[in-house]
Each structure stands twice: as C-alpha cells, then as structure tokens.
Symmetry: D3
C-alpha cells in the first residue's frame, strides 16, 4: 500500500478522526483561522510532500466552500503525490441546470472552481444528480447512502414494508434501496398544484394502506415537505412512516417541523455527512465513516470501488 495521509476541513472533523483511527494514521493538522473580518487563513502544519492526500470537507455553507478551495490551494502548493477530495456533502448540487432564464448552473460552477485548483479524484456521497459526475474531468466515485441505511433497517421487521420516493426523480434510488432490502413494493409521491394559488396536493401513487413506509431521499432541508409527505402516507392509512435521508441539512425551522410532525414521521434516519449542532429524540444519526474508510483502503490497494455495490 502506498504512503498516504488523512486531512480534514472544519466540517468533517468527526468522520476524518474516526478514519484516522481505523487506518492507524495521524490526522494531519490544518490550522484554520477565521479573522474578525470573515477572511479565512489556512496553514497545513506538517510536511505532506510526496504523499497521497485524502482531504475531507463537506460544503453545507459558503464559508466551508471557500475553506475547501483555499485548503486545496495550500495542498497543491505543498507538492503532494495526489489529492483525493472526499465531499460527504456537496453543496449547491440542486442547482444542476438552468432552472429559469439567466440563472447560474451553480453545481457546475462549484465543479469548475474545484477543478481549477486541481484534484486527482473526487469521492462523494449520494450526489443530488448523477449527471454532476460529468461536470468534472477528474474521475468521480459517488457512494450510495443506501448502503449505510440497509444495515440499520435490517433490524426492523420489513415483511410489510413499502419503500417510498418523495418525488418522481427519486424512483431509481428507491428501487435500488428496495432491492437491497428484498422489498418489491414502491410508492411515489406526485405533488401537483391543481389550480394556481391553491396549495400543492400530495397525491400518492401505489398502495400504502396498513403498510410500514420507509421514505428514501438524498437530502432533507427545512423538512416541511417531508412532514407533509409523511402526513399524506398516514392519512392514506400507513401504519408507520420512517425516512432514511442521507444529508441532514436541517436548516431554518427544520427541527421545529420534525418535532411538531412527530405524529406523522416516526423516525428520521440521517448520516453524519453534515455535522449536527443539535438533534432530537426521533432523529437517528448513522456514522458514514466505515464506508469512507473502506473506499480509501480500496483506492490505496488499486481495487475496484464499484464492486462494493454489487
């Protein structure tokens, strides 16, 4: 195995520390100062010349994105052998196309900024759309959060379970998850606004009566729509509703919504791809570091990543 080091930005310290222990290698220290005017100063505190660098940083905020770019610049100018950027959460992924006239394609812009500084490979987790891989010239390995949830869900009795996608776009993910759990039935939420100025209706396609529902999705932000979907399932006779959602953005009123909606959503299962300052009783946070740890091992041994999913 080639010589390598683990590094981490401020938003992924826990994951990286856990991996540094699993791999029995010290986490290279980065000094990150934030000045009172908001500018960030980065200094890598140890020599990394000639090393294969695995640098973790999620980008749930503009500050974390700028920190990522500055740190990549510092890494590049420190003469490593290679740079693998591991982004457990890739911000701005939802703006992956021109949704309206004269808007940016923000997910492409983020890719361009990262490629401009320079990486050798990107590892992401449940990136919002797979086409984002094509925004990069470097190889991208996108990991599936489903593989983290499968083990956890197996502890439940799944005999009466239906896997649900909260929109048409997530059907492929839902099928993959269902197959992993040997579940056949799917349900899809079809949001439609029957008339202008009326509120969106949560129309359910598929049979959910007396069923245990597991919603699978990549991202939960304010949780407003999620709670509405859970309510719709319960209103249609579902026995229980859980949600396995990789990225817990949980901004704004999210915790309040989840707390208020606990009659509808029985459990929210997320990963630690985004660091949580606060949490709630009905939120379960799964550790993603085993997955990343295995990926780093395979990369260093030149073994296949895709075979992890078979």
């Amino acid at each position: 195995m080639k010589d390598y080091v683990i590094m981490s930005g401020t938003s992924t310290k826990d994951i990286a520390l856990s991996i540094s222990k699993k791999h029995n290698r010290p986490l290279i220290d980065i000094n990150i100062k934030k000045f009172s005017d908001g500018e960030i100063f980065v200094k890598i505190k140890e020599n990394i010349r000639g090393m294969d660098v695995f640098y973790f940083q999620a980008t749930p905020s503009n500050d974390s994105l700028i920190e990522l770019l500055l740190t990549l610049d510092a890494i590049k100018r420190s003469s490593p052998n290679s740079i693998t950027l591991i982004m457990p959460y890739y911000g701005y992924a939802r703006q992956d196309r021109k949704t309206e006239a004269r808007t940016p394609i923000s997910a492409k812009l983020v890719a361009d900024l990262i490629e401009k500084v320079g990486i050798d490979r990107l590892v992401t987790l449940d990136i919002h759309s797979e086409q984002i891989q094509g925004f990069f010239d470097s190889p991208v390995d996108n990991l599936y959060g489903a593989n983290i949830f499968v083990n956890y869900c197996k502890k439940y009795d799944l005999s009466n379970t239906v896997i649900a996608s909260p929109d048409a776009g997530g059907v492929v993910r839902a099928r993959y998850f269902a197959k992993k759990l040997n579940i056949n039935e799917l349900a899809i939420i079809d949001k439609r606004r029957e008339k202008a100025n009326e509120s969106e209706v949560m129309n359910i396609l598929g049979n959910v009566k007396e069923k245990d529902i597991i919603i699978i999705d990549d991202m939960v932000d304010t949780a407003g729509t999620l709670i509405k979907a859970a309510k719709a399932f319960k209103d249609n006779g579902a026995k229980s509703v859980k949600a396995c959602i990789t990225h817990g953005v949980l901004s704004g009123k999210a915790l309040k919504n989840i707390s208020n909606g606990s009659d509808y959503l029985d459990e929210l299962i997320i990963t630690n791809s985004i660091k949580q300052e606060k949490t709630l009783q009905n939120i379960t946070i799964l550790d993603s570091s085993n997955l990343f740890s295995e990926v780093i091992r395979r990369l260093q041994e030149n073994r296949s990543i895709s075979s992890l999913w078979k």
Copy 2:
C-alpha cells in the same frame, strides 16, 4: 440587425433551407465529400469573414458528429464574427452519467469535443436531460418540442385527454405539455421487472379508462417500448393512443414495430429534427423550422429567448 449567414450540415439541409427562405438569405454552400475510405472532406465555398454564422447540424450518427466537428474547425479557421451551433438532435445524450463502472459519460465527451473546437452559443431542441447544459461553458438555449406539438394537437378534441409519460424521468415534460394544453390529468408508466429473467411489466399509474391518451417523450428509437406502452394503455381501456415525440430516431425494426403496432398506437407525431428516409401512413412529421427561425431572429435582435415559452 447584424449581418449573418445560415449554413447546414448534411443532416439538416431541409430545415436550414426553409430558414434561409424565411430570412431571405442564401444558404452558404458547404462542399462535403465522403471518400471511398470513409473520410470526410469539408470546404466552405464562400467567404464568411466577419459574419455571425448559424450552423445547423444534427448528430444521429458518428459520421454526422465527425462532419460537425470538421465543419466547425473549417468555420473557426475562416474568421467569422461568432458561431452559433444549432443541433436539432444531440446524439449520445442518453449517456449523460456513468451508468455502470468504467463507462464513459458520452454526452459530456460530445460537449467537450464541440467546446474544444469552439462555439459561441449552442441551441438544442429537447435535449435528453437539462443537466447537459452544464456540460458546456458556452451559453445553451434548449428549445421545447412541446411548443411544436401544441399547435398540432389543438386540432383534436382534447376534452377527454390524459397526457402520459412513458417513464418517471419524463414527468416534468408531461406536466409542461399538459399545462400548455390546459389538461389536468397525467398518467405514468412504471416499468418493473418483478423477478430476474421475467420480462418487464408495464404498470400504469393514473386513470386511463375511456380516455384519449397522448404520450409525450423526447426520443423514439426502435419503438418497441413505445408500442408496449400503447398496448398497455389500450389493455387498460384507453379509447385512443397518440404519441408526440420530438426526435424520430426510428432505427432497426422501428418502422416494422410501428406498422405492426398500429392497433395500439393510432398516430405517431414526430418533428423533422432527424431526417427521415422512409415513413408510414400513421406517422405525422411536423416542421421545426418556424421555431428555429424565430430563435435566430431574436438572437440577432438581442431579444430574450426564454420569453418565447411563457
């Protein structure tokens, strides 16, 4: 209005000729020779120095893609003022992400090849996924085939009509089309393979009984799946089934399938984005040149394209 010229590759001669007439400008002649060994030779026969060039070429085949790249190179070396590439059909658009390990992202590769030679703007029609816009650094204007179909469909009695998407991915397109026609109801085909080695089942979500169905999609290739979908609608009680599909690739057994399936699919409506050598009685081909003509006019007058869709 600035000075401009219309040019066309071999696969879009009809559209370009029609536009050249509408705009009252000669179609600049390109000499395209194909040698017996398969190599293509391109020569632009008139001076285009300082002109705004609108170059049409669809890429339903590898030959047409190479012809496009060689012609762009010839245009670039002829010192035009700007190059607008108009691709009524963008080949390889379906391979817009790494579908399996160690496969190319072909739609990105095509974008890279085009950008490498150099264009100022791309105009496409119903590109397979909107994220492909992000594969380009140049501005991309993607036109909607729905706007061509709307006028045609208005001649029918639509009071009992349901708009259908042949898969989950096409729901956004279906809704846009339904809204343009003031139709509320949608149906979606949910293909699922219940067990390995069993054939795919066409499960219909939504009510189609006694309804007139209009399927909307971006592309029809061998038409096998399309006929199966039409049969499924009829089997579920639909009164009639039409399909509005922008790009008539119609390769392999397509015409045979459509002919044999005429009990299920009453009419197939496509555009002339791809040149058809042969056709059938129940295939209607709509002219897309009005749409492109208006776009060129707006581009030369610095007017908005997006406002076309409002």
Copy 3:
C-alpha cells in the same frame, strides 16, 4: 457610445445606484435569494443579450465572493457582449504570496476563480499590491483612492502637513499622495520587536514635531495598529493626526478602538468601497461613485484610463 447596462451585487448597491443615475440608465435588477441553509440563488431579471455589462460587487466576505461567482456565471450564460467586473474592494488581497510554508496564495486563488468563470476586464480600487494585476490574464485597471482623498484634503490648511505611511510597503502610495497635494515631507512607521515576547515598538522615521500628519493607507481592519501609530505620532509631538484609508473593513473591535483612540486619531476618512452598517462622529465616508462613473464613461468611449492620473 456602445449600449451598456449597470448591475450590482448586494454589497455595492449604493455606488451602483448612484452611477445608474449619473449615466441615466436603469440598474438591471438581480434577484438574490439566500436560503435558510445558506445557499444563494441568483436570477438576473431582465434580458442582457448583446449588452456591455458593468457588474459591481465588493468581496468583504465569503458570502459576497460566492455571490460574485454565481452572478458572473449567470451573466456569462445570458450572452452579453462583454463583462467588466468592478470590485471596489477585493477581499483576500493581503494573502498575495506564500507567507509561510504550506499556505495558499489566496489572492491568486480568487483571481483564478474569477477568470475561470470569465470576465473581459477588471476594475479595482487600491488593490493591496499591484502584482495582483499579474494574477489575471484579463486587463486590470487599478484606480487610486488617493484621487478621491485629494479633493477632500484640499479644504484643510496643508502648509504644515507631513504625509505618513504606516509601514515600509506603503511608501510608494504615500509619495504619490504627497505629490498630488504638493507636499514634500514624508514620515514612515518602522514597527520593530526588539526582543521576542516584547511588544512591537512604533519607531518613527522622519520629523513629525508640531506637524499635521495625514496617514495614507489602503485598508483599515480592526484599527488597533492605526491607533497605535496615531498615538506614536502624537507622543512625538504631532499637532494633529488624520488618516485617509480607502477600504474601511472595520471588523471586530474596530469602532471601539477608533472611539477610544479619538485623542490620538482626530479623523478617519474612508471611502464607501465597503458598505458601513454603523459609523462614528470622527469617521468621514467619501463617495467613490464619481470615479467609477468616469471610468465607465471612458471605457465606453474607448478613451484612456491612465490619463486620469496624470
């Protein structure tokens, strides 16, 4: 004069509005939403196809830098004729070289990010070091804040005045300013730390006794060092101390420091290159919009910018 539009980011609205009035052209509206998770969404609300765009945005924070990049991307994809980016304040300019091992060159990174999205020309005001012009491939016009201060200072009796630079690096700026005011005498602060762990000594080179001092500099952040310098001048017998400093970053305890140090620093004169939320009685804020307005006029008339300084 060619057809052009004025646009502005959130941090330069006042300057841009003033210019839009002076040039009698509406300020093109940009819709900038900040979501609860911190992501920014940008939409240019009017068609700018074929226009020469003058886009103002200062970057005193990471949010304003990301907003700048996203907006540039949206502008680029809207097919303007040219993009002139006007940055009254260029953040991260102080990190213009590798100050220590394994640190980024942040000012170059910012330049790379901007060039990657794509501009035709950059206009800045008192950029921290002139070498930053070389970080760009595009033409850069750096304006001098001194030209704003000169008019203001002429209202004072300057017969007994010495121009002071707060460090060796600012001597060139100080001389330029002195020459503009027909002043001969300079003073320089030489900060030195005589022994480790002792605090820095403010050693004054030049004669300041009974003199009116005008400090000139590009940037004031927490104002700690500025007040120490003013105190040193007063301790050495200066009659009055004013400071003309282009960019009022004024972060952290800045206002408190300036307020507490009002015995030493009689007046702080800054420009509106950075928007001030709060201010103090002994702070004067000069409007920079006349300068930018004249530059835009000259750019549109293909006249020289440099001749402004002769």
Copy 4:
C-alpha cells in the same frame, strides 16, 4: 517492470491479442455494443485502477475514431496510472494543413480531440507527416514501417534493385529504406499535368531499365495511382515491381484495381495496421505486433525507443 495491461478497440484485436500473448498478460476485455441507431456503448469489464494502460485502436473510419474517444473517456474515468494510446493507423492524417481556403486541418482536429480526453503518450506507425507530432502536447513516438519490411525484403535478391518513391514527398522515407537495405539507387515519380484537362503524366526521374523496383510508401487507398506508377515503371523497362506500403486502406475499387493490375504490380506488401476483410493472392500482409511488443517492453523498462532505429 511496472504493472501494466493491454487493451484493444475493435479495429486492432489481432495485433493486441498477439501482444498480450507475447507479454503473457490477459487482454482486458472491453464490451463494445453498437446500437441499431449507430451509437456506440463502451464498458471496460475489469478494474484497471492504478495500472499503466496500453490501449490499441486504429482509426480507418469515423466509427473507429468515436469508439477511440469514448473508450479513452472510460479509461480516464477508471483511474489508471497512465494511458499510452497506440494507433497503428491514424486516420485523417493526409489533411494536415489547410489545402484550400475554408477547409479544416483535420489531422490537428483529431489530435485536439484525443488530447482533450487526455493521454500520456501516443505511439503511431508511419504517420503521414512528421509535423503531426507537433499537433500533440504529449510525447509521440512514431515507428517506421520500413523496419517491418526490411526483414521481409532480405529474402529477395536485391543486387539489381532500385527503391522508388511515388512522389516527391516520400523521398526521405525511400532513402531511409534504401540505406537499411544497402541499396544506393532511387527513383522518383514526378506526376505532372502538362495541360489542363489532360490526364496526369507519370514522369520517372532515375534509371529503372532492367531493374527490380521496390516502391515504398505509407498508404495505399484505391490503388489507382499505385497501379499507374507500376505500369510506368514496367513501360520504362523495369524487370519487376513490388510495393511495400505500411497502411493498406484498400477502399472502393482497390482490390479490383490490384487484381486487374497484376501485370504491372507483381506484389503488394502491407502490414496489418488496418484489419483486412478480404485479400488477394499477390498481397502479402506482414505482422506489426513484434514491433509494438518491443516498444511496450522498452516503455515499461524506461529504455530508449529511438535507439531501435539506429
């Protein structure tokens, strides 16, 4: 020796298989599907992470060129250590300059497309003009077909032989070949059209009477000119005429021309740089795989390629 793998496109399977045997390494399988609409799908069937990849593909057609680019993209996204592209035949090499106004420089375009996807090194065989090396930024090693022909020709009595170039451009190649065979005398064909509308005259420079002629060239396409040249030599008294031509494009009426011209051309010797579907009795096909095999060995051992030719 470093770890490496052999891969091949559809047009070079025989050469690559032979090399895989010589090097005792399995040929990595690539799944190449051609859909009925003409699009190509590529999948590399085994993990190649960290490997030095030697990928063979000739480009005698547009399909093979697109296949090459798609496969390179798939290789690049599979994280190999390095990519050496081996093109036994480089299509479009004859269009290596602007032959007329407003034509592409096709050989440069092909180079640009390949470099855009990304390779570490290119190996070619008898590329049409050596300047094409300069179209690449990557190192190019151009092998000489003459080295394949020399061994074969030594079986003949060469005491009365003259080496002939079919045009002025091939004189350098002819001299190199002559020197390798210890032959002194050269002949050159000087095609000239004495008056417009008269057919080209094959004027022979050099003495060929009672001589055994060996024509050497890089490419034979329809063989029309070759047979005319052979006839001219025989008409001028040559005893026998053979031709050693690296790339047997042999398109259109080539086989018919060669068959009909067998009185003039006694033997055509080509290499297997292009796969031949059919052949004729007086065509000899030499195997080029020894040459490529030796080159791969030297590359992996960091030994000189150029010393092969001394």
Copy 5:
C-alpha cells in the same frame, strides 16, 4: 471599414511605415528600451482601447521573439478590440518536427508561446511548412512570396527558363511559381552522400542544358548550399542562374559566399521580410509591403484573402 491601427516591432519598421502611409494612418509609437543587461522594456505610447490592432514583427533572433511576446502582452493588457499579428518571417520554422530523439519541436513551441499570450489571427509569409498552420488554434493566413517575385521576373525573357527547386520538399512551391509564370519545365536538386565521409553530391533531375534557371525557395541562410546548387547548374550547362528566395536570413559567411559565388549565381532576389544591414551588387531586395497592405485592407473589409491567389 472598422477602426484600426498599425504597430511595429523593431525588426519590421520599414514595412510597417510604408503601410501606415499607404493606409494614411499614423504608426502607433512603441517605446522599446533595451537595458544594458539585455532585458527589453516595452511601452505603447498611445491609447489603443477598442482598436483592431495590426502588429508587425519578424523573429529572425531570440531578442526579436521575446520583444514580440512582451509587446503582445502589453497590447493584450491595453484592451484592443482584436489583435492581428503579422510575421513577415517566422523564426524556428525549420524545427517543425522531432528530427532526432529528445529534441524540441521548436516551431510548435513558438506557436504555443504566441497563443498563450493571445492573438486573434496570424498572417505569415511563406512559412517553412504549411503544417505549422495547424500548430495554431487561431486562423492563419499564409501569403506566398511567389506573388512578389512574379511581377519582378516578368521583366526578363522567360522563353527558355526552367524553374528549379533546391530540394524535394520545395517541389510544390516550384510548380506554383512555374504556373504563375506560364513555365512548364522543372528541375530538382537531389543531394546525396554516396558514402559516409564523402561530401554531398548535387545530382540534378531534369534538363538544364542551355537553360536560364530560376531557383525558388523560402529561405537562404549561409548561402553555402545555394552557391553549390548554382554551380551544379552551371556545371551542367545552364546559361544563367537566378534565385528568388523570400527570406534573406544571410547569416555568418552568407555575403562572402554570395560574393565569391557570383560566377555561379547571377542574381539573388529576396524580399524585405528580414531587415538587411548590408547588401551586395548582385542582390535585389523587393518590397513586400504592397502585399501586406492589401491583406489588411481585405481583412478590415471582411473580404477573402485566398481569392488573392487565384
């Protein structure tokens, strides 16, 4: 006609001044200082914002090449509308391929350096090989020196004239020139070294007895080979020998060789593409400025350049 300016480097002052007069436009002054340590300082003395710039500079030396690059950088940073670089002589053009192992492709390097700084179009005169056009991404217009020589030569009685190429590589140029002069007969020099360590033999292909010979070539350097060729023609019975050679490099012993060889070479005709410090009685220098003047006129009027040659 669009607004444009003429500029010139130190090596093309005469040509550019002549054009500035023909076009009735002042030659924009460039201040070029050479410091005592050899470094060059460039300053464009007038505003060129928004202008189409035609910048002349030949590169017969490393100093002139660096001057060219520095001046292009200064032009680029001065915001012109476009830059047309006109290189009457392109140095390093002979090294247009890897002649031996581990040598640079110098002509490509020069192209890369120029493209890196950035031009919109290149105009050259008789560039050594046409493939060099492909080293550039920008459009290249290569003018033919033959068109300058044709008018001059018409003053001679050409009834008994043979056009001669000094090597196989120049045959295409020789034919073009012959056709322009309505001459049919060509002669070619075939240099061969019969045995190692013997000197090169000048073998003449074609009939020169009692003929007036006009040698045509792109470049004469030390003139050693040229005089040997002239001697060979005279030794074979030629009545007179003239040489029309576009670029008079004339380095080292060139003038001495030409003076000593005046029995063999009756007249050397060159152009002023390279400035001559000294000359001789039997050297005629033709002015190339009419040709360049006409090209600039056509470029500004968007007319074809290639039609000049028909």
Copy 6:
C-alpha cells in the same frame, strides 16, 4: 530515494557540475548548438525516460530564456517522470506589475511561458518579489540568498554592524538577515527627488555614524545606485561599507563603477547565481551549490524545504 538526473543549461554549468559531484551522479549531457543566424538547437544526449529531472538554467538574457523554453520542450517530449526547474536567477523579475499604462507584466509573461511548456515544480533563489510565486500554478520554493551570506559574514567582527536596505522594498529582507546575524540595528536609504530635473538625493534613515555597514539586496545591475548609496553612508560617517547581493547582473559599466567606487564600497559579495566572465579584486563570489544540493536531496526524500530556514 527515487531515481533522478541532473541537467543544466549553458548559464549554470558550474553549479550543476558541482551538484552532480556532490550527488555522485553524472550530469546528463545536452547538446546546445547556436547557429550563425542566432537560432538555438537543443538535443538531450541520453535517455531520461521515467526519471525525475532537475534542470538548472538561469535567465540573465533573452538567449538563455529561449534556451530554457526549448530545453523544457525537449525534456517534456522525452517522457520523464517529473521536471523540477531550478532557476538561480529569474530574469524580468523586476517588471512584476504594470508600472505604467500599456506596459507588459513581464515577470508574469515569463511564468506563463514556462507553465505553458510544463514543469512540476520551480525552485528559485531570492526572487525579486514574493508575489511572483502566485504567477505560477505549480509549487514554487524560493530560497534565500541570506543563508549563503550568513556563514561568510560570521568571519567578520559584527559587534558594531548595521544592516542596510537600499530601498523601502527591501526592509523585510534586511530584517531577516539581521536576525540571522543577531544584529538589531537597521538603516534604510530613502531616495527622493526634491524637484523635477534635480538629481535624486540619498537620504539615510537610521544611525550609521562610526558603524560598519552591510547592505543586503537581491540584485546589482550597473552598480551606479549601489556606489551612490555606499558614498552616502561614508559621507554620513560610516566606518566601512560592504554589500551582500545575491545576483550579480553587473552589466554595462558595472565593473568600472565598482572599481571607481572602491573608496566607498569596500567589498561586494555576490553568489554564482549568474556566471561572471570577469571580476575584480574587491568582489567576492560565493558558491550557491551547497544550498541547491541540499534542496534536491530533501525533494527526493520528501522532506520539508521550509524547515531549512527556521
């Protein structure tokens, strides 16, 4: 330690030879021919495939800069593993910003040219301004000449010594040097021109009376200003004046100035970063090869360079 080779351009033969001995590795021979017309031809005489190449070349002249670029191109096309360019002297470094309107940023241009050909890392010695590091995308290690001078100066009695900077820009370098020698006192020369057309006055800041002065600077060219500074120190009562200046450009009248000024400047100490053809009695030339040798050793062992300076 990885396998590596040492190479050198014409201007750094001595340093490189010394290092080749210290590292016990042969200096790879480069054949550099200069033709009579001034063009340079480069050929690397041994195979360097797969090697880490350390290539030395200083650029005190345009010829040496072109030689550097051509040799880099030859190295790149020879397939090394990596290229470390070591420039003991970086020409054009003083033009590191647009000093006046319409001038080039020559130091950036040189960086662009080098990056265009391609290097993996740059090592320089006392580059004129540290911002030049940001002109490169590759990592740059800038060594300090002060570390060479420190050992030499320790042989002197330093108890009464003042370190002097010849201008405001050099104060940081002077402090670093003073600290290395445990000296506290600094002096600065403040050149000012009191009235236009009067000559510059050398105003001394700091106490130099009865002191031993050591001037430290990066570059001495014609030595005119240096001698004036030395005279100013002596005129102000200095006991002795020495100067430690890394790069001895010494062009024009430099030796004459130094010789004539020997009453003022007692000793000039330079390094061999630039090869000296001639020298004088009061010039001491220190060998820089120990420093470069140590750097190469650390690079090959993946050890830190920055820790050299602590």
